[in-house]
């Protein structure tokens, strides 16, 4: 077993040496395969059996040949290996022989080296012993000199202190005293030294008093303030009180800077003197902002920058002084009795929080001052941007020093509010402008110019919107980049406000107006917005926002709903216009019907002037509306058809009935049935759907005729009165149907007027249709020439 294990180990060593490891591994993987000729589990019988069983003779011969050649090559490999090994063994033997020879040489050299070292060490020992006596003496002398110097220092102390106090070199005085105290404490038991100590303490106490008085003086320079405070601290003043006093004074000083800074006069004169400056800046703003820096700053930004220059260095200095003088290890108080129990020294955390409070408060008010300055009305967005940039730049340094004060966050928040506010005010201006635009649109003074006027107004609105967008541009991306804000929030805000502004336009348009003309013009404006105006807005937004990757926010502008709003406004206005027109005509009808005594009136000679008015008014309205609702063919007002075509079947029936039966009582029941048959219920509410010239005209005509019917029903007519109404209605029957889209309703209303009139007539004797023709023809000619 043991020899077997040793052989395996030697085999594995050898194979690792000759690089057979890989193959060895491979063979281990299919160790169990008794068909693998290379594996250890290889069984010859099975292999040969299988071969004989499954392979053809040819294959077997082939395999046999292959095996013979494999065996041959293995043999030659083996020979090679044995030969190489022998070679190596010979060279190894040579090497070992050479090494043995050289080591024998080295041993004698080492022995010599050891001898030399011994000599060196004995020499050095002898030098050392000869010098040691002198050294002791030197040390003693040195110590005596030090003591003498100290003594000298102590003796001189009172005089020196006094001199320092006199020369106001307080710092040196305190320093000296502190040094001296340490020595004095050590030698305090000697009476002469105690005298010195008492004297010095007295001087220092006096000095402390002087300093206390001095720190109370308001005129004290800031630089000296820190120094004095520190000295007092060293002299054992109450640290909390002193530090608070110090900070308080520094804060007051900085506040003074702030309050006196925005030199009201300067700011006023600045903006007042160069009144056009903001405007100019606005126009040059975009390039200036792009060029950045040192270009002329606007007044507000300049103020902010100057304020920053005045304020921030002082703030930084305060911070530095604080760190330097008060935060380091607390100096040992020099006057133990003064220190007493009343001066618990503050922890570093407490001090830190004190300075942080002060910093936050100061920067807070600084930001507030800037904010107020930038919030003034004449600050346009680009100068606001500049101002904010200055503000942020100024605070950057402070922020870097004291990140825990969260100064930047405050500044950012303030700037964000400022930006939003500026944006709001700009869009409010836009809204006001749009409202003014709407209000400016009076009725058409010259009807031909109506469309032009609408076009102009539409253009003006687009221009206003574009202006507003350009004006807000600096507030958006640059501002957000500056403040590390997400610009899309700002963009959303902008889009929302813009939407509101346009909605305001729709609302303003809907406000009630006195004259029908102005109502129509506003309706036209709304329609124009529906047609083109609203669609432009998202495009403008996209043009501005998309380059900055804010295209998504532009999608927030719901132009579909805006279009709906505008359309709703337009519809409401058109409806109001129709109503106003109808009421105007109705009023004329009412007045005319009530003015006449229908019982006793002369026989009809002409179609009544009222009819003129109706036809002419409708014509005028057609002209106006057609300009607002372009793209619709204007029908000719004057009918071209023959008069006979206007003949009413009802009329004929009635007339014939009158002729055949002269007893009203007996025929009244039949008549009423007939009436009901024809007096169908006519809808008087506005037609739904898209407003068109004809539908509006139809509606006005219907309402006017309805008034006519109702007025007729209120009257009592004689024969001539009835004939006059009949004539008027006949003319309207002739003229109106070609101009309306609900011919049936109009004819029915006219029929109803005649029926009602007949009912209200004491002696109804109808005109023959033919008799009316000349009157109607004459009127038609007259109107045709009048209307062109």
């Amino acid at each position: 077993m043991a020899s077997g294990g040793g052989r395996v180990r030697a085999a594995s060593l050898l194979s690792s040496y000759y690089g057979y490891q890989e193959e060895a591994k491979e063979t281990t993987t299919n160790e169990e395969d008794d068909m693998n000729i290379d594996s250890s589990a290889f069984t010859v019988d099975k292999y040969v059996g299988t071969m004989l069983q499954y392979k053809s003779l040819e294959e077997l011969v082939h395999r046999g040949n292959a095996m013979v050649s494999e065996i041959k090559s293995l043999d030659s490999d083996m020979q090679m290996l044995v030969y190489e090994n022998y070679n190596k063994f010979i060279s190894a033997t040579d090497t070992i022989r050479k090494m043995k020879h050289r080591v024998e040489d080295m041993e004698s050299q080492m022995i010599e080296l050891e001898k030399n070292m011994g000599t060196i060490s004995s020499a050095s020992e002898s030098v050392d012993s000869s010098l040691s006596a002198r050294r002791g003496q030197l040390e003693k002398l040195n110590g005596a000199k030090k003591n003498l110097t100290k003594l000298q220092f102590l003796m001189d102390l009172p005089a020196r202190l006094q001199r320092c106090v006199r020369d106001e070199q307080f710092e040196t005085a305190v320093d000296d005293f502190r040094k001296a105290r340490r020595i004095l404490r050590a030698v305090g038991n000697v009476s002469s030294f105690r005298g010195i100590e008492d004297e010095a303490t007295l001087i220092i106490k006096r000095l402390a008093q002087v300093l206390s008085v001095r720190i109370q003086q308001p005129a004290l320079q800031l630089a000296e303030l820190g120094l004095t405070t520190r000295l007092l601290l060293q002299l054992g003043g109450n640290e909390a009180v002193l530090l608070r006093e110090y900070l308080g004074r520094r804060r007051r000083a900085l506040h003074d800077v702030l309050t006196t800074f925005p030199p009201a006069g300067v700011a006023e004169t600045g903006s007042g003197g160069e009144d056009n400056a903001p405007v100019d800046n606005a126009s040059t703003a975009a390039p200036a902002a792009a060029e950045e820096e040192e270009g002329e700053l606007s007044a507000a930004a300049g103020d902010v920058a100057r304020l920053g220059e005045a304020f921030v260095p002082q703030l930084l200095e305060l911070l530095a002084e604080w760190q330097e003088r008060f935060v380091g290890e607390t100096p040992e108080p020099v006057l133990p009795d003064a220190a007493g129990a009343a001066a618990p020294s503050l922890t570093i955390e407490a001090k830190e929080s004190m300075i942080l409070d002060a910093l936050q408060e100061l920067t807070g008010s600084y930001i507030e001052v800037c904010r107020r300055r930038l919030q003034e009305d004449n600050v346009d967005p680009s100068s606001l941007l500049q101002g904010v940039r200055k503000l942020v730049g100024a605070l950057d340094e402070v922020h870097a020093l004291v990140p825990q004060a969260k100064i930047m966050q405050r500044a950012t928040r303030a700037a964000e509010t400022l930006a939003k506010r500026a944006m709001d005010s700009l869009l409010q201006q836009l809204q006001d402008k749009l409202s003014a635009q709407v209000k400016d649109m009076q009725g058409a003074t010259n009807s031909a110019s109506l469309q032009e006027q609408l076009h102009e107004a539409g253009k003006a609105i687009s221009a206003h919107v574009l202006d507003a967008l350009t004006a807000t541009a600096p507030l958006l991306v640059p501002m957000c980049k500056l403040l590390n804000l997400r610009a899309d929030g700002m963009a959303k805000h902008l889009v929302g406000r813009l939407y509101a502004a346009l909605l305001g336009l729709a609302k303003t348009a809907r406000e009630s107006r006195a004259t029908a003309d102005s109502v129509l013009v506003r309706a036209g404006l709304c329609l124009h917005m529906v047609a083109t105006g609203v669609a432009q807005v998202p495009a403008m937004l996209k043009a501005q926002l998309a380059p900055h990757g804010l295209g998504g926010a532009a999608l927030g502008f719901d132009s579909a709903s805006m279009t709906r709003e505008m359309q709703a406004s337009a519809d409401a206005l058109l409806e109001r216009f129709v109503e106003m027109q109808a009421q105007k005509l109705s009023l004329e009808v009412t007045q005319r019907m009530q003015a006449q005594n229908w019982l006793k009136c002369p026989p009809p000679r002409d179609v009544n002037l009222l009819v003129d008015r109706i036809v002419r008014e409708l014509r005028g309205m057609q002209g106006l509306v057609a300009q607002v609702l372009p793209g619709e063919p204007i029908r000719s007002m004057m009918t071209q058809g023959p008069f006979s075509s206007a003949r009413s079947s009802v009329q004929l029936n009635l007339v014939q009935r009158r002729e055949s039966s002269q007893q009203p009582a007996s025929s009244s029941a039949i008549q009423k049935d007939l009436q009901r048959m024809f007096a169908r219920k006519i809808s008087l509410s506005a037609a739904a759907g898209k407003p068109s010239v004809t539908s509006m005209l139809t509606h006005v005509a219907k309402l006017t005729l309805k008034t006519l019917v109702e007025e007729v029903r209120l009257g009592t007519f004689g024969r001539e009165g009835f004939q006059q109404i009949q004539l008027d209605c006949a003319f309207l029957r002739w003229v109106l149907p070609s101009n309306v889209d609900d011919e049936g309703a109009v004819l029915a209303l006219l029929d109803e007027a005649i029926i009602s009139c007949q009912e209200r007539c004491i002696d109804p004797a109808a005109f023959e249709h033919a008799d009316m023709e000349p009157f109607c023809e004459a009127k038609r000619k007259q109107l045709a020439s009048m209307l062109g």
């Binding site: 109705s586 009023l587 009412t590 009901r676 007096a679």
Partner: protein
């Protein structure tokens, strides 16, 4: 009872073959729902029908029919219960307008038949007094003062006169005590209504303006100069809230006013798509307003915000759960032609009648949902 509560069915009554413009409640009778309808037939016979609405059967029965000598253009019934049979009508003789005071004899005693058996035989009206005569189209009617029932106002287009009635056993005497012409140049009176809160105050429509006149001195008390852009058709006082009135007119609108603040309407509603011929407050619940128009519709409105019980501004429920405080409750489409008169029942707060030109009277209920909203 169930039919009334359900309010689903509509009761109507047709004046046989007659046009009609006049419908009023029988003001003196506050126990039964009765209305008076007068026909306007130029060339036929005219009649005045007294209708009673039976809530149990939901039927309208003609209680009494009177022959009337001429077409009735206006009618007013006496608000005093002891004189419930008195009525003033204004009628056209074909050449002029006359006004008479009549007694509808037997109306108070008459009991309604259980089922409608068609109109009863015609009775005669007793003429107690003649008031005045005016040219055609001039006389607008008589307005009875509900607080002082002996006082009436005769309203003509160009004249308004205060008349005191004294009732004798068989006839009455009238005495004109004061008169005034329209205070606005070129405008004529169009309608009037007594103020239920101030016995001597009369609200008048004059052209497009709304006036209130103190009848003791015949001086203007309040003026709403531009109440409507066209003729005012009707005025009514809020029964529960002094100085609040409504007016309607030919400009399709109903407007609510506080007479002390004439510059702006409290509320303005485009009520109909043509003339709004009449509008009146519910006698008890002033958030309900009824209107009629020549667009064949009768509309019931809710005007809660200008009523005596405005919707509570409740912090807990900022949104009114049932929609807006003001608006249309229901449009009744029972008529086929222009509606000229609507009247609330004098006896029941939830019943009203409307009359269209073709003589059709329709009696309707306030929808139960609205009723319970007001009551609960």
């Amino acid at each position: 009872m169930f039919a009334a509560a359900g309010g689903a069915s509509v009761s109507s009554y047709q004046l046989p073959n007659k046009q009609a413009r006049v419908l009023v409640a029988l003001e003196g009778d506050t126990d039964r729902t009765r209305f008076v309808v007068g026909s306007t037939e130029l060339k036929g016979d005219n009649e005045v029908h007294v209708l009673q609405f039976n809530e149990d059967t939901n039927e309208v029965v003609c209680l009494k029919a009177f022959a009337h000598p001429n077409e009735v253009w206006s009618c007013a019934t006496c608000p005093a219960p002891e004189h419930a049979e008195l009525m003033c009508t204004t009628y056209s003789t074909g050449s002029e307008l006359k006004t008479s005071l009549w007694r509808m004899t037997g109306v108070a005693a008459a009991a309604a038949a259980e089922t409608s058996t068609g109109p009863p035989p015609l009775s005669q009206l007793d003429e107690l007094a003649q008031l005045g005569a005016a040219p055609l189209g001039e006389h607008l009617g008589v307005i009875w003062n509900a607080v002082l029932p002996e006082q009436i106002v005769e309203l003509c287009r160009n004249r308004l006169s205060l008349v005191t009635l004294a009732h004798g056993a068989v006839s009455s005497s009238t005495a004109e005590s004061a008169a005034t012409a329209p205070p606005i140049e070129g405008k004529s009176f169009s309608c009037a209504r007594w103020d239920p809160h101030h016995a001597h105050s009369l609200g008048v429509g004059c052209g497009g303006a709304l006036l209130s006149i103190d009848t003791r001195s015949m001086k203007l008390a309040h003026t709403v100069a531009e109440a409507h852009s066209q003729r005012v058709r009707a005025v009514d006082y809020n029964p529960n809230k002094p100085y609040v009135v409504l007016s309607c007119g030919d400009d399709y609108a109903i407007r609510y006013w506080d007479l002390r603040k004439p510059s702006d309407a409290l509320l303005s509603v485009k009520a109909h798509s043509h003339w709004t011929t009449s509008a009146c407050y519910n006698r008890f619940h002033d958030q309900l307003v009824l209107s009629s128009g020549t667009d064949y519709l009768v509309k019931l409105w809710r005007a809660e915000s200008v009523s005596s019980a405005p919707p509570a501004v409740d912090a807990e429920e900022p949104e009114n759960p049932d929609g807006e405080a003001d608006g249309l409750v229901k449009a009744f489409e029972d008529h086929d032609t222009s509606v000229f008169a609507v009247a609330w029942s004098a006896a029941d707060a939830w019943i009203f009648a409307s009359l269209s030109l073709d003589g059709k009277t329709v009696i309707n209920h306030v929808p139960p949902a609205e009723k319970y909203k007001i009551l609960l």
